[in-house]
Amino acid sequence: MSAARLGQDAIARKGWFAAHKWLLLRRACQAGILALFLAGPWFGVWIVKGNLSSSLTLDVLPLTDPYLLLQMLAAGFAPAATAVTGALIVAAFYLLLGGRVFCAWVCPVNIIADAAAWGRRRLGIKSSRPPDARARYWLLAGTFVAAAASGALAWEWVNPVSFAHRGLLFGMGAGLWFLAAVFFYDLLVAHHGWCGHLCPMGAFYSLLGKAALLRVAAPRRAACDDCMDCFAVCPEPRVIRPALKKAGQESPVILDTLCTTCGRCIDICGQSVFRFTHRFDQRSSS
């Protein structure tokens, strides 16, 4: 699979814009969220204050990262009502929409990881020594143990996700090195190494997405010509097979919670096999 060929079929059949529709929308969403946060410090237009850990929108809507709140509880601190309300709102949102929607549509590290994956394709780097994809769940458990043992939010000392977002809004400092480490790890050591194997935040949000309504499905799977483009571009390739190839399930819906709902498979498929739908949509061409 050469870099030049990936997605060529889709571009030829659907045109460039249709073959990049969800990618562009996703980048717009990531940039838009960042712009909402940056409008305050840059232009004095205070729509959203704070950062992804905790924020206040238009002085009324409090949001708090539920993963952070649980670490807080593990560390033995009972947070005030505002934080609990904020975490419940965020948790409810991702429970409905799909946990890892956060990873693909909100998280700033996604841009770094996607850039590294793109760099891999361009430079033709094939070697990859990723840790086991379940390592993230152990790390997730480890962050709670670390919080309980130290009585502090231990993971926040190193969490690249909050480093990235806080850094953009409040000053990066040496946090840039952490992000560079993620980029070069993904580029040189392991394909989708951070987001796809280690990040405990992604692991947490994947658990939150067990019953998510918004899903990607392969209703036209009969039209699949086995070009493998979707597998090549997917950040979590293992999630596609059950839905596309009926491996262990009849439903055409990608039910694996590790799916980030990024929609790259929809864009890249020349046969328009995939589409966004709800989890109960059983329509399928075969």
Partner: protein, 285 residues
């Protein structure tokens, strides 16, 4: 288990290759996951040792609790009207992401409505603090008496004058100036009962390097043992000595004096020039 006892280890590997692979993968996942968590934990523990160097916003919980409570969201930073607060980046004197301020560059202006506490979503900045005079962000310490101009006998007084709790948090204590032997020294003296740790004194100190510095309370203050009681306070509290009247024994040579007065006689001390002693005695070996 007993039925399988006879199978040797290589045989078991041959019999259950999938299980063996699964266990190996699981061990790998667990190993890398736990190793990273352990690394993060150790790093956090080490960084926490630095925590006490930073001055926290008003109402911040004690450092250990604060590190469990603060989400590092920066809402307090945003609502500080004077740009005093900032979030720590790696390498700053506070754990990454937590709010702090540097007294020497931008001290706390002690707003009466304490706007930094209000947006805190978790209570890491305690909303129970409503009177800014009750804030304890740190404690000013006149750390270098060798360079402080007032200690040199000059009348600088700047730290005293800028103190928002003047004459309570910092007072000027009059003392004899032994160097000139005819002047007074007015020594700036900090009182922990009133100092909020706002840092205005440190920011205003005229020296190239401030002689008065605001330190986090645990660095600045000693602590009496839990068991320690001050006799004079206890006596006050109980309206008399707790051990009752002391046995008065006669002391030879002090008959007729009030008990406890051990001065031998009332003759004044000999004049200084009669016999210089100590380092000024002029004695040479």
């Amino acid at each position: 288990m007993s039925a399988k006892k006879s199978t040797s280890a290589p045989e078991r590997i041959r019999l259950f290759p999938a299980r063996r692979r699964f266990l190996a993968e699981l061990a790998g996942a667990a190993g890398s996951g736990c190793l990273m968590a352990l690394g993060a934990g150790l790093y956090a523990n080490q960084s926490r040792a630095l925590g006490a160097q930073a001055l926290r916003p008003p109402g911040a919980l004690p450092e250990k609790q604060f590190l469990a409570a603060c989400t590092r969201c920066g809402l307090c930073v945003r609502d500080c009207p004077y740009g005093t607060l900032k979030l720590a980046t790696p390498g700053a004197p506070a754990p990454t992401g937590t709010p702090y301020f540097t007294a020497r560059s931008v001290p706390c202006e002690m707003c009466e409505d304490i706007p930094c506490i209000k947006p805190c979503p978790t209570g890491a900045l305690d909303p129970a603090l409503t009177d800014i005079a009750g804030a304890r962000m740190g404690l000013a310490v006149l750390i270098d008496q060798e360079t402080c101009l007032n200690f040199l006998g000059l009348r600088c007084d700047v730290c005293y004058r800028v103190c928002p709790v003047i004459d309570q948090a910092i007072t000027l204590e009059k003392q004899h100036n032994a160097r000139s032997d005819r002047h007074a020294m007015l020594l700036p003296t900090v009182h922990s009962a009133h100092c909020t740790g706002c840092g205005k004194c440190e920011a205003a100190c005229v020296l190239a390097e401030a002689a008065i510095k605001v330190l986090p309370a645990p660095l600045a203050q000693g602590k009496l043992g839990e068991h320690y009681r001050k006799g004079w306070e206890e006596r006050e509290k109980h309206g008399g000595s707790l051990i009752g009247d002391q046995l008065e024994l006669p002391v030879r040579g002090l008959e007729g004096k009030p008990y406890g007065d051990s001065r031998v006689d009332d003759t004044p001390a000999p004049p200084a020039e009669s016999a210089p002693g100590g380092i000024d005695s002029g004695w040479k070996p």
